[in-house]
Every structure is written in C-alpha cells, then in structure tokens.
C-alpha cells in the first residue's frame, strides 16, 4: 500500500519551470502556400489512387484506360484506311464518352471530400495555416486537373496519331486546341458540380449515387425533351432546353464557338446569341459551385 507523503506546500519563490532540454523547432516554416500545394498534389494523386491502396487504384485507372482505348483504336483505323481526317472530332470525343467521365466524377468527387467529413479530418486541415478558400481551391483545382488529365489524354492520343498519320497539321492543331478549351470548361464544370454534391454527405456511396443521378438524369431528361421538341418542329426551343444539363451545356458552348458539330437532335446547335448565354451559364455555374463550397466549409466545426 502506497504511503501518502504529506505534500509540502511550495511557497513563493520556490516554484519554477524546469527546462528539460527539448529543442525548439527552428527549421523553415513552409507556410500557407506550401500547405495548399501539398493538399492539391495529395488530392490530385488520390484521384488516381496514387499513394492509396491497390484496390482504390483499380477504378480510376480502369476508367482512364477506357477513355484512351477508343482514341487509340480510332487512330489505328485512320492510319490503316489512310483517311484524310479522324473518324471523330476532338470536340466530340468527350460528349461521346460522357458516361465514363460521369462515372469518374461520381467515384472521385466523394473520395476527395466525403472521407474528410466522415473521419472528421477537416478540422485538422484547418489547424494548419490554411483557410477555407485554400481548402476549397485546392480540392476544386485537384479534381478539375484530374478530370482534365482524363479528358485531355485521349485528345492527345488522337492528335499525336493524326500527326503520325500525316494529316493536315494546321487543321489538326486547331481542332486539338478547340478540344482542349472545351475539355477545360467541362473539367471545371463537372468538378464543381461533383464536389458541391459530394461535400453535402459524409457517406461515400450516397455521394456517388447523387452525383451520377444529377449528371445522367438531367442529361436523359434534357435529351428526351429535345427529341420531342425536334419531333414537334419547335426547333427554336431545342437550344434553350439544352441549358439544363451539364453535358448539353458544354455541347452548346463548343458548337457555338469552338466549331463543333452539335449532338443536339437535328444537329442544330445554339446560335451566337444563344451561345453567349451558354457561356455565361457555364461560367456562372462554375462560380456558383465555388461559392457554395466556400459556404459549405465556412463553419469548420461541421
């Protein structure tokens, strides 16, 4: 049994804090920009499963391959048949492969933000010298970059293939540049939408379903309505209906300004005036997503 010694009450000057010899940190303080860059690169790597388990590499890599293989096949066909242009436009490629892009956003947007919410790591991020804007920008930029890699890689395959097949250089370069502008817009838009939806729920599975529902159902609804408007010969309304789904928005922008042929029924893209509305809506949506994310992460307690 422990014997309790009477505690001698320390009086006055005898109290002191001992220096037991721990060293202070006197290395460089890397600061806010560094923390933001790290968060960006971690999120970007995470979007392709790099630095995570093998299991989580499977899906993003698979989708990446699925995106690129058709491009390689098209190049092979173009070379073999000695065609004087590629079987598909640079701008059209992302529209054709939209299911794969949607799946990628749906699987990676929740991966990027929902797990931070679920495991309550968000407050830990904010204990570093970063602020709400840094977190949102890093995540937004990371997912947009990941999407850009996903959508631009097949275009690059097409472009290199076209040059190797000795297609017209100026023509191909112009098409490639137009395609890049279009996929940049697409990446920003999809990343914004995906993150806003995913940041609402800490459940990954539910976030995936919600993102996919928004992307595919809106596209399904819009293209159905467009087909009906086309059948009714009310061609004027087709372009306006297209404003209500992300994919048709991008389609409208690129067929108005980037020389693409529209995938709208009847092949009628928006006119220049309507095209301006399309661009404004796209930019407005991207800005709105950014604003909503900022609002979402304003309260760190979560």
């Amino acid at each position: 049994m422990a014997v309790e010694h009477p505690v001698t009450a320390p009086s006055g000057d005898q109290t002191r804090i001992h220096n037991i010899g721990y060293r202070n940190y006197d290395g460089p303080r890397l600061g806010r920009a560094y923390a933001r860059r790290s968060l960006y690169s971690q999120s970007l790597r995470g979007s392709y499963g790099l630095g995570r388990s093998v299991k989580s590499k499977v899906l993003p890599m698979l989708l990446f391959v699925v995106m690129c293989v058709p491009a390689a096949i098209m190049v092979a066909v173009a070379v073999a048949t000695k065609a004087d242009e590629l079987p598909v436009d640079y701008t059209r490629y992302a529209i054709v492969m939209q299911a794969v892009i949607s799946l990628y956003v749906a699987s990676q947007a929740p991966q990027s933000v929902s797990r931070d919410l679920r495991f309550k790591t968000v407050p830990l991020y904010f204990s570093r010298p970063i602020e709400t804007a840094d977190y949102v920008r890093a995540k937004f930029a990371a997912l947009a970059s990941a999407l850009f890699v996903l959508t631009a890689a097949p275009l690059l395959v097409l472009y290199i293939g076209a040059l190797l097949a000795k297609l017209d250089f100026a023509d191909q370069t112009k098409g490639f540049a137009q395609g890049l502008v279009s996929v940049t817009l697409l990446s920003l838009l999809f990343a914004g939408l995906g993150l806003v939806i995913a940041s609402v729920t800490p459940r990954r599975g539910f976030g995936i379903a919600a993102v996919i529902a928004v992307l595919t159902i809106s596209y399904g609804a819009v293209s159905t309505l467009q087909a009906i408007a086309d059948a009714q010969n009310s061609t004027g309304s087709i372009a306006w209906i297209g404003l209500f789904s992300p994919v048709t928005l991008i389609d409208g922008v690129q067929s108005a300004f980037l020389g693409a042929t529209s995938a709208f029924p009847g092949g009628i893209g928006p006119s220049d005036g309507e095209g301006v509305v399309y661009v404004l809506v796209v930019l407005g949506l991207i800005a709105a997503c950014y604003g909503l994310l900022m609002r979402r992460y304003r309260r760190v307690g979560l």
Binding site: R52, S53, K55, S56, L59, A99, V100, S102, L103, A106, S107, R115, F119, V200, T201, R203, R204, G205, F206, I208, A209, A210, I212, A213, T216, I217, G220, A221, T224, L225, A227, I228, A229, A231, Q232, S234
Partner: protein, 239 residues
C-alpha cells in the same frame, strides 16, 4: 424469415434525413417532365413509350435500385455497425431477406408508382403503356434490389459497380452489342411488359420464358449468395 425490427431500422437508414429527398426528387422530376411533354406534344403513344422506356425504366429504376439496394446494407458494413446487428440471435439469411424486402418496397414505391402516374399523365394509359411499364418497373425493382443488395455485401465500392452495370453495361454495351442485351435486367422486364401491352410499342430482345426464368434465377441466387456472404463477413478497415 421477416424481422420487423430489422425492417424498421433499414427503412430509417434508407429514408432518414436527406436520403428521402434525392429518392423523392427523381420521381418528381419524371412527373414534371411528363407534364411538360404532355403540354408540348399532346397525348402520343410513341412519345409516352419513348419517355417511359428511356427515362423511367432505363435510368430511373436502376439508379433508385442502386441507392435502395446498396443503401440497405452497404453503409452498415462500411462503418462497422453491422456487427451489432449480426451479434443478435437472428439468422443471417433472415437479415438479408428482410433487407431485400425493404429495398424492393422502397424501389417499387419510388420508381413504379411514379412510372404509373407519368404514364397516365402522358397518354392516359393508351394501349396499356402505363400499366406495361409499371409492371416492368415492378419486376425489375425486385431483380435490381436483389442484385445490388448482393453487391453491397460483396464490395465496398458497390455503388460504383452497380452504376457501371446499370449505365455502362445496360445502356452503352446494350446498344452496341446485341448479346449484352440478353443479360440485362431491363430487357427481361421489358419482355414481361411486352406480354402485358401486347402491341409493338413495347418490345424486348428476350423471350418471355427466358426472361422470367432468368429473373427468378438471378433474384434467388443473389439473395442466397448475399446470405452466404453475410455468414462469413470479414470486416475490413477503411481502404
């Protein structure tokens, strides 16, 4: 085989809080679109068939099936709280069966009912189209719920795989490779719908007998195997 407590918990997990919102938003959208289309195009059998087949049966039923089927068990396995359920003196197949019933009920209420309403709005059930697609939605609800419930017990990425099946296999490959359509819940349910409607508006690539047999086999097998998986469930850590 049916445990009311498990059922109540599953209902709460599926429809609690914001989840009911997204589940309710999709049917509302379908009905809203039907109203718009009826206003734009008037009552037209072909339009009604296109809309119900393309939007309701091909997109909405699978997505709601994925949410309800995987949502009935996935999150519990994901956060590990399923051990509290498994440690109760209940047979594992009973748990699966109860969850399946709940998932089927939720999928039916949120997909078949709106399909029926949309069908009546679109053309007032002309040529039995509304009823035919409702039957198709009911039948496919059962199969989707069973398959996606199984996926929920097998994989942590059940939602993604479910969506890949529903969107890539059924929609993309189904339209490119004719053989893929034989292995598609959507086509099986269309075969049943074809029998109900009788006309040429609702068609399927699969015969009625094949479709029925495959539907039953898939549902029963999926449920049985999900029960087996739950009997020997290993709880994994995150990722």
């Amino acid at each position: 085989m049916y445990d009311p407590t498990v059922a109540r918990l599953t209902y709460r997990a599926l429809l609690g809080r914001r989840r009911a919102l997204i589940l309710g938003a999709l049917p509302l959208l379908l009905i809203a679109i039907s109203v718009v289309v009826r206003g734009l195009a008037g009552a037209d059998d072909q339009t009604a068939s296109d809309l119900l087949g393309g939007l309701a049966l091909a997109t909405m039923v699978p997505i709601i099936g994925v949410i309800a089927g995987t949502g009935a068990i996935g999150p519990e396995i994901d956060d590990g709280s399923v051990v509290y359920l498994l440690s109760k003196p209940l047979k594992r197949p009973t748990i699966i069966f109860t969850k399946l019933i709940v998932a089927i009920a939720v999928t039916m209420v949120f997909s078949a009912l709106p399909t029926l309403i949309a069908g009546f709005i679109l053309n007032g059930n002309g040529q039995q189209i509304a009823v035919a697609y409702t039957v198709a939605a009911l039948v496919s609800s059962i199969a989707y719920a069973a398959v996606f419930l199984l996926l929920g017990t097998v994989s942590r990425h059940a939602v993604v795989f479910g969506l890949v099946y529903a969107l890539v296999w059924e929609a993309l490959f189904g339209s490119l490779v004719p053989g893929a359509r034989t292995l598609s819940v959507q086509q099986w349910s269309l075969a049943v719908a074809h029998k109900v409607a009788g006309g040429d508006l609702v068609t399927s690539d699969v015969g009625l007998t094949t479709a029925t047999v495959l539907l039953i086999v898939v549902t029963v097998l999926a449920t049985w195997y999900a029960g087996q998986k739950l009997r020997a469930l290993t709880l994994a850590g995150e990722e």
